[in-house]
Symmetry: C2
Subunit: 404 residues, 2 copies
């Protein structure tokens, strides 16, 4: 039985995680649920899953929640309340599925405790990959990817072969839970990571990016996700952020992480090994496969998720992305290459730009124009610590908000 | 440095194995080469690779060879000479790439010695899978698949996940070489094996199987292989034999091994796990990938084999085979289901039938008619030992030869 804390339980990933957990009642107990503000929904979830601890990040919503909460449910208030939840001593896994960098501090709190992290919030690694991965190495926490692409890569990397002599590489013993099953899966022996991208709604259409509506950009052809990540998919910024996420998760240099547009969203990513062999992971496009793998790892369990019928799949196709049409990919590669605080700045500026687009304050093409503008104004600080990352993030948000 | 013995060194697999070995001079030393009769070619190979031991299965060819062999090369005579080669005490791997059941006795000799087997001759497992796998379990020999499909499955199975508690399953220590790197890769946690088939030259064409010529049947669209296996690919008997091979290699029941026609021959096979995830292995269609993986296992090495460019691959498609058009698949499933000596009989009858077709003694459709006729005449013996298997094989060959 694993004890799970879910940060962002009313979002798309959070709700799907609860479906997975519901399908495996003997495997998991939910011990904490955190949300930013939607307190009535989280109260219902807490009742259904018999959860004692909930956290509400918005302080006034937290107060309102505390008044409504039945006895037996403890409400933790504000961002520090979310950190308290992530730090619960009996948590085995903290699933971080909040939007954006607000996941960083609770994730760090959980890692310091030696708790494993199932990470859906890629921004945490984009902005602070060095800080987070070093903390994991120190405490023995496993970073389990929840993004379908990174879960796919994680699964494909198992096939990488084993260096003779070094044998199976066991992860350092987790100080807290005495893990003995973990293998450190890293990118040695890997020639390339092939990150697949559905390409979003515009990849195969000649559209005027100055005229794209919010509705058009939110109409993702294959995946049903939250608004922020759906817009990021349409600009391909999502893939840019995923390049950085993959870099930190698997220690593979950014220039060996390639993007392949794969409109069918059946292959969730691939690894090309040193010998020229490519291993691919596939499933029906549904985020529960990756969520479940992260939660049940290292086991695979049958929970009745629909099988893939390749004979009924018309075809699988792959093409190189048109980087000239999708400048976000190049901006992300540039930020990754320049390093230091620049990825945090790209990420923060992009969050604000997407918000502005959703509020119809800027055009679709204004997203990358705004991100680039903020990046050009930034003076990089190398080897940032956690506070420096957060300062850069704050600066970039402010700068992006003030820009037009 | 691994010492390699190659049985069938002048065939298609043998020659490609030598190319792989040539590309990794610091990794391998060839210590023995065996052929059925082509002795001038094997003498050249022995000279090039500085090999001391050669064996020629045909006794009169062996005598002629001994007369021509330069000093320093020892010629082993006849089938027992091939067994002597397979039994060389300093062999680390015996690559068995002979045609048909003649590989069985040398493979058993190597296994008794605790030598690892790189197995290209699927007939050995088809006819005597139970005997061979039990001998491996006893001596600690690894059975490393060389067929591209089975190599693919072997690689995909690494991603199967690890049962908590049982941890990594180490193979029993190999008595001879003190293997410590091996993992026993079996089919637990696997829902299905998806064996891909190019489908051969006739899969998408409406052809009259009574009128197919030898030339048409030998024109394989994607793979360049020996004649026997090329004809088996055209009848889909090859896939039937591969179902049985996969069953013995990975302990997966035959009814959970499905065939998917995949005309592009890029995906070499797939595994569907319990959680509904499918993992696939791909490469340019070239048998050196699988040969190299078997020889370098558990390592993956860069020898300059061409990388796969999926963006330049038009599409990947998959379809269910038309079992009504290709009765060999059903015959093979029937033989597997009935068990005992029946798979050996199917295999032997098929070898003779293919020979007869190549000599234009029977039609293409006569291949499965002849196999079925012999199977109908056979009285199965359950749990056969090695001699019983060989007797059944001999009976089936004679019966097939005598049939019209």
């Amino acid at each position: 039985m694993k004890n799970i804390v879910i940060l962002g339980s009313t979002g798309s990933i959070g709700k799907n995680a609860l479906r997975v957990i519901e399908s495996l009642p003997s495997k998991f107990k939910v011990i904490g649920l955190a949300v930013s503000q939607n307190y009535s929904a989280v109260l219902k979830q807490a009742e259904q899953f018999n959860v004692r601890h909930i956290a509400v990040a918005d302080p006034s919503e937290a107060k309102a929640c505390a008044l409504k909460a039945p006895s037996g449910i403890m409400v933790h208030h504000g961002p520090s309340g979310v950190n308290e939840l992530a730090s619960l001593a009996d948590a085995d896994i903290v699933l971080c599925a909040v939007v954006g960098l607000s996941g960083l501090k609770p994730v760090m709190a959980a890692i310091r405790n030696g708790t494993d992290i199932a990470l859906a919030t890629k921004e945490v690694l984009v902005a602070a990959g060095d800080v987070v991965t070093k903390a994991c190495a120190k405490s023995g926490s496993l970073l389990l990817p929840v993004d379908s692409e990174h879960s796919a890569i994680f699964q494909c990397l198992s096939a990488k072969g084993i260096k003779k002599g070094s044998n199976i590489q066991h992860s350092e013993l987790n100080r807290k839970k005495n893990h003995d099953y973990g293998r450190r899966i890293d990118g040695s022996g890997v020639r390339k990571i092939l990150l697949t991208a559905s390409g979003g709604p515009f990849v195969e259409k000649a559209v005027d990016f100055n005229k794209v509506t919010v509705r058009q950009a939110l109409a993702h052809p294959t995946w049903d996700m939250g608004k922020k990540v759906t817009i990021d998919s349409a600009t391909l910024m999502n893939k840019g952020l995923e390049i950085m996420e993959a870099h930190w998760l698997f220690s593979v240099p950014v220039d060996r992480i390639e993007v392949l547009v794969h409109p069918e969203s059946i292959v969730h990513s691939m690894v090309e090994f040193n010998d020229g062999v490519v291993v691919a992971q596939m499933s029906v496009p549904d985020m529960r496969y990756a969520i479940q793998y992260a939660l049940t790892y290292p086991e695979r369990l049958d929970t009745g998720l629909p099988p893939l019928n390749l004979a009924k799949t018309e075809k699988l196709t792959f093409m190189e992305p048109d980087e000239a049409r999708f400048p976000c990919l190049l901006l992300a590669r540039e930020a990754a290459k320049r390093g230091g605080t620049m990825p945090a700045v790209l990420n923060a500026a992009n969050e604000i730009a997407v918000q502005k687009f959703l509020k119809k304050e800027i055009r679709f093409s204004g997203i990358w124009r705004l991100v680039e503008k903020v990046m050009r104004k930034h003076r990089i600080i190398k080897d940032p610590d956690l506070d420096t990352v957060i300062d850069a993030d704050t600066w970039a948000r402010r700068t992006a908000k003030e820009s037009s």
